[in-house]
Symmetry: C2
Subunit: 142 residues, 2 copies
DNA sequence: CTCCATGCAAACACTTTGCATCAAG
DNA sequence: CTTGATGCAAAGTGTTTGCATGGAG
């Protein structure tokens, strides 16, 4: 789990304002396992007695996106999800068709070989990829 | 390129009505390389002097989806794309960041090994996956 | 003639924008 | 005090629904 304190320090020392919403959102994003949606963030904030307008949440997410604190994840649900961006932690997701649970899965550099092949064979320089696995988790297969 | 004639025959002999819109949409989907959006379909139809309401296009796409003629593709653009579903043609996409072009890339069963590892190590049965490569095509790298 | 297909308007879900107000530093 | 953060209402975008009409078989 990435430390929210570190991130907040970094933002502060870069001259960004430290507001209640910003602090709370970074903390929630750090604690939450798996990517979280704007709506879920609002619920989480409310649980901390912080009633925040959706506009503010979306704007803060854009801010964190721009600062490369979070990254956007699209799991084909018709909405975006966000998770802390940690360059050293390359992972993908497993989405259960039944219970809709989302687990992360470490992947290392399994696609590096494929991506260098793509450059050779297709003259296309891969900068990033999205890879999500859809299926059934153990509990839902019983 | 999948033959639209075949698909239309199949649909007809299964007792489905053959309308101008259905015929045209299947043809466009077959001819178009790479996944196409609802809006692009409407433009394509207009080029054939067929002015079709978006509702009709969405409904026809759902119909083709249900009949497993097409599949949905999400390239993180905020809208869905559709392409002819051909079980024997397992491919993914390369999306250029600059020109937004979409190329298909054959992939065979490169992820089978990873997916059986996932079942073993994470007790998660992968049924399908999404894999898209984002980067720069040859022309845009010059 | 019987249904499925279609168009239109309106609703929907998620996200963004404009503008006035608020609060961090 | 200054500027970035916030709330609210409205607009935007992609998609879906309800309902009446139209056309394939």
């Amino acid at each position: 789990m990435t430390e929210s304190k570190e991130i907040l320090e970094k933002l502060k020392s870069a001259g960004n304002r430290m507001t209640q919403v910003r602090r709370a959102m970074v903390e929630i994003l750090c604690r939450h396992k798996g990517p979280i949606s704007a709506a879920e963030l609002i619920t989480s904030l409310k649980r901390r007695s912080l009633t925040v307008n959706k506009t503010t949440v979306y704007r803060e997410l854009h801010f964190l996106l721009e600062k490369r604190i979070v990254r956007e994840v699209d799991l084909l649900e018709g909405m975006k999800r966000y998770e802390i961006l940690d360059e050293s932690d390359h992972h993908h997701h497993m989405i259960c068709l039944k219970c809709r649970s989302i687990q992360c899965i470490e992947m290392g550099h399994d696609l590096d070989e494929i991506e260098s092949q793509i450059l050779k064979n297709h003259d296309f320089k891969v900068l990033s990829h999205t890879l999500e696995f859809v299926g059934l988790c153990g509990r839902c297969r019983d």
